[in-house]
């Protein structure tokens, strides 16, 4: 057991899977010699060689299409989108090709797409987006979004071993800020299972990714200032969703606040809200509320981005508002 950063946990998970399974290989822009824009794959080229750590042309559709072809031939490619924003130029390969192959003719497409996501790093409109909702609507893709080093490593390993295309949303803001204990040796985190990040009795915060630490901070704040005992549910897996865990939490606290960094309209929170209303309406004693980024492109200047995004203060205020409903 050692304290590890979120980014190192991803690297370690990738490396250990590559050591264990020759069919795992990496491809992406600048991932080999340079070690990746964020250095997730630093040293991998030396350890695994050019056949398994492939610097590609600047071509997202090419990277994703090549990954599909290799996966269909029994390989387990892990493709890196340098920034998840760039996946837009390879969209068709994921939503019409990778996602639909098993449904159409039964072949397995065991590929992982790493999606460095999110804002708070002043990357501007094209290096800051959360793109999970683009894919949430597409049957055949699994989506995971770890918030801790433990889950980052466990989920990258589970994603690589999965028989389906898995989009792995790794949050850039968490890369070097989030630290935690990661056990030595082989373990996975099951895709489709969330976790209770903080147990509480009064109100459920349903969240994932970067908003998990922000929500935990907010929960401490309102616990100290207002005595509100908040439960924080870390979804971890966005597709499939762990609805049982979510319903159980809402049934216990009777109040649901959904928090995500992605935009509010058409975000995953909208689906969560609809499902909770459909399935556990009688347990609610207040409206389901959402805290999310405002419906604009991600602005660049720090003051604009701060206004745009949720943060612990905004979440704490949302908790107080819903609690006092």
């Amino acid at each position: 057991m050692a304290e590890t950063t979120y980014i190192k946990a991803i690297s370690d998970g990738l490396r250990e899977e590559m050591q264990q399974d020759d069919s795992v290989f990496l491809l992406g822009e600048d991932i080999g010699n340079y070690g990746g824009a964020f250095k997730v794959t630093k040293g991998f080229l030396d350890e695994f060689g050019e056949d398994r750590v492939i610097d590609t042309p600047l071509a997202e559709s090419g990277i994703l299409g090549v990954s599909i072809g290799a996966a269909l031939q029994g390989m387990r490619p892990v493709a890196e989108m340098q920034f998840s924003d760039f996946v837009a130029t390879g969209f068709n390969q994921l939503v019409n090709n990778a996602a639909k192959i098993h449904y159409r003719w039964g072949a397995e497409v065991p590929m992982v797409v790493r999606m460095p996501s999110g804002g708070g790093v002043h990357g501007g409109p094209f290096h800051s987006q959360n793109t999970e909702a683009w894919f949430f609507h597409v049957p055949g893709l699994k989506l995971v979004a770890p918030s801790t080093p433990y889950d980052a490593k466990g989920l990258i390993r589970a994603a690589i071993r999965d028989s389906n295309p898995v989009l792995y949303f790794e949050h850039k803001y968490l890369y070097r800020r989030e630290k935690g204990d990661v056990p030595d040796g082989d373990y996975t985190v099951e895709i489709g299972k969330g976790r209770i990040a903080r147990a509480g009795r009064h109100l459920s915060v349903l969240t994932y990714g970067s908003m998990v630490p922000a929500s935990l901070e907010a929960a401490e704040k309102v616990s100290n200032s207002d005595g509100i005992d908040v439960e924080v549910v870390d979804l971890r897996s966005l597709m499939p969703l762990d609805m049982d865990l979510i319903y159980d939490s809402v049934k216990k606290t009777n109040k649901a606040l959904i928090v995500h960094e992605d935009l509010k309209t058409g975000g995953i929170g909208a689906e969560l809200s609809a499902r909770i209303t459909e399935e556990v309406f009688e347990w609610l004693d207040g409206p389901i509320r959402r805290i999310a980024s405002i419906d604009t492109p991600v602005p660049f200047a720090p003051s604009l981005e701060e206004y745009f995004m949720p943060n612990p203060e905004k979440i704490a205020q949302g908790i107080r508002d819903l609690w006092s409903y």
């Binding site: 299409g65 072809g69 290799a70 490619p77 390969q93 090709n97 389906n164």
Partner: protein, 341 residues
């Protein structure tokens, strides 16, 4: 018909003068005729069923394209990987696809390869190493490169082949996929079936260059233009490209000049194709041309031809009888199979 059945047929005819063409034996020539005629007969039967209202959805035929789809894939080994397009019925058959399975697929039956979940020849078949296409043309160009990459990493010496249309040459994946294959020196052969029209759009509105094969220069790979109605030329050149790929020398772009002799789909009368263009290409029917040559060489006698044609008719009848009698999928199966495992 199996290869042995074709060999048995050949033993009954005396071939005196024929030596070989494009490295092919008389037996190969008869096999090529079998697949091309089979493709033509199978597709004409499908078209007839469509007119009778027995086929749902679009019917995309490869009439005029048989020499390319059969000749190119005849250069592949069983372990090689093929990513066909929607007019490549002949390529499926040459690669070993079962006729009944193809008919079940085209009629959307429960026990077809997609169980009615996808239409046309969109299915792949792992047992014969074919990959299923999607309707977004060009998408499979990088996918074929990826299959070739797997071969390169695993050192299996498999070659991937993919057919591309003239219209497909305009979409971004054409560039991304071929460039990728070239840069990584992958064992893949791309065959552009330039059949002059993309739906109603003629080549003059699709690209400005005289030959699409010229684009190979930009990727640093060989580009070759061939007469796509001459099965021997198609075979000779693709065989060279396949061997080259297998030897680790990288991808080749072949432009095969053919004509789409039907509409885009069977609903389309293709009245946008000028009469003189139709007439020009009618004189170059790949199946007729092959028959004429094989007969002049004494390889295909009238008796042998009749025997093969009859057998093909029986096989096509049997395949479609099976498919017509087969059940439609149960509605609730629509909810199954989104995820593997």
């Amino acid at each position: 018909m199996t290869q042995t059945e074709i060999s048995n047929l050949l033993e009954k005819v005396k071939i005196e003068e024929f030596q070989s063409i494009a490295g092919l034996t008389a037996e190969d020539c008869i096999t090529l005729y079998y697949y091309m005629r089979l493709t033509r007969s199978f597709e004409m039967r499908l078209a007839s069923l469509y007119r009778q209202g027995k086929v749902v959805g679009g019917v995309y035929l490869g009439t005029g394209n048989e020499a390319t789809s059969v000749g190119a894939t005849y250069a592949l080994k069983p372990e090689d990987i093929l990513a066909p397009m929607h007019r490549d019925t002949g390529a499926h058959f040459t690669k070993g696809a079962d006729l009944a399975s193809m008919a079940l697929q085209l009629l959307g039956r429960a026990n077809g390869p997609t169980g009615g979940k996808d239409n046309g020849s969109h299915h792949g078949d792992k047992s014969i190493n074919t990959l299923g296409m999607i309707s977004h043309l060009g998408t499979m160009i990088p996918v074929a490169a990826g299959a070739a990459l797997a071969s390169k990493i695993k050192k299996t010496k498999q070659v991937a082949m993919h057919f591309i249309g003239d219209g497909t040459s305009s979409i971004g994946d054409f560039h991304e996929g071929i460039n990728f294959a070239a840069v990584l020196n992958l064992p893949v052969v791309y065959v552009i079936e330039n059949n002059q029209y993309a739906y109603s759009t003629p080549n003059s509105k699709q690209f400005r260059s005289s030959w699409l094969a010229k684009r190979a220069v930009g990727y640093g790979i060989p580009g070759i233009v061939i007469d796509g109605t001459d099965v021997f030329e198609v075979y000779r050149v693709t065989k060279w490209a396949v061997d080259r790929a297998r030897e680790g020398k990288g991808p080749t772009l072949i432009e095969s000049q053919t004509m789409r002799m039907r509409g885009h789909s069977e609903h389309d009368a293709a009245d946008y194709v000028p009469e003189e263009v139709k007439q020009k290409w009618e004189k170059k029917d790949p199946v007729d041309e092959l028959v004429e040559r094989l007969q002049s060489w004494g390889v295909l006698t009238d008796g042998l031809k009749k025997q093969i044609d009859n057998q093909i008719n029986d096989e096509v009848d049997a395949a479609f009888d099976t498919a017509l009698e087969a059940s439609a999928p149960e509605g609730s199966t629509a909810a199954e199979g989104v995820f593997a495992g």
